[in-house]
Subunit: 211 residues, 2 copies
Amino acid sequence: MTPLPKDEAKHRRIIQAAIQVFAEEGVSNGKIANIAKAAGIGKGTIYEYFRSKTEIFLAVFEYYFNKLLKGYEQLIREDLDPTRKIEKILDYTFDSLDEQLSNGSSPDWLIFLEIFLQGYRNEILGDGELLFSDTLRKMYTLFEPLLEEGITAGVFKSLETEHAIFILFAALDGIGLHYFINRNHYQKELLKTTIKEIILHGLLKTDSRKV
Amino acid sequence: MTPLPKDEAKHRRIIQAAIQVFAEEGVSNGKIANIAKAAGIGKGTIYEYFRSKTEIFLAVFEYYFNKLLKGYEQLIREDLDPTRKIEKILDYTFDSLDEQLSNGSSPDWLIFLEIFLQGYRNEILGDGELLFSDTLRKMYTLFEPLLEEGITAGVFKSLETEHAIFILFAALDGIGLHYFINRNHYQKELLKTTIKEIILHGLLKTDSRKV
DNA sequence: TATGGCTGACCGACCGGTCGGTCATAATAA
DNA sequence: TTATTATGACCGACCGGTCGGTCAGCCATA
């Protein structure tokens, strides 16, 4: 299946170039010629590393998924109590998005969303119908032990973990999306506080909050 | 600007056909020829009603926005206390999505998302017409009085309304999206309960909950 | 001279939009 | 009433531009 990438660095450069082009022009409008130009190579060379545009798309998907997963995995491994850990996850998600937005170039968030859209519509894979939702659920699963720990400790409400994690993750994703869309109209720190006030405290069994 | 739609019913039929085609093939891959076929008319006729594919796209956007807005407006007008109203809004959003999913045909949610995606991409990189994010914020605004009422009544926490509504709305949107992607893996009623448990109760000043 | 990574001119399928023509109906004339 | 003409909604073959993918040859290296 894999076409033997001869030069690993160039392989990565093509993926990075594809990300840039997809983000600027969209996945279906993103042109191979532009990816080649952005990568500083000829169009034909792309086809030495990838069989098709679809294969480039899948590589980008994989890149993003691993990046996201790694970030969350690291957070979860830290030695903190569940409440503090959830708090950090909320902050982390928000901050990393904000960082992407502020460094000028086209943000990952947009392309990540489109990747899922494309993937889900099955435009790309005839058979891979389950790839995308399965992948997503793999990410949810990562958080389940954390929630269970909090419930066992009596800090979190005794919610059904699978569904609660789903809500948490989905809500966070939506907030990220809308923040991206409206980033000029809201104050970052106030949003972060409000997120915790609503979502984290919605999770807690008892609240000892300011007002 | 408007090209005088001669036959109002046919105009609507084209929009409906476009929705169907966009949902199945995506916005940028959706073919005018297929829209014409789905509407049961010739391709040329499309251009008697719309100047371009972009204009069709905008008409679809408008259709969806008005539909969504109308649903929420109606809910907000009902005579209920703020808590119960938020609860109904959460239920309504979820139920209407679920209804769309179960009636087999391609769900609105997907195309709605892509509409925004396309719109934002143009907004960000194009000539800066702020149509889409402005439109979205108009929807947020709808909920602000509701939240203020709850805060004044002392039922909700005294959150900054604009930011709180943003969180609420964005979270709900994300949940809808993820539910769409993973609809086979979760129980609807349990999700609805969990949503209220986390999000509604995160909003409340004091909780009198079961567990 | 041989190898093979690399290249971009080129091919052909595809698709948004056009335009000359058709035809059902309406308006007018006989 | 019937014949003739005018209207414009409707159509789909066609055009021109676009873009994913190919391939014949270039060139650096051994």
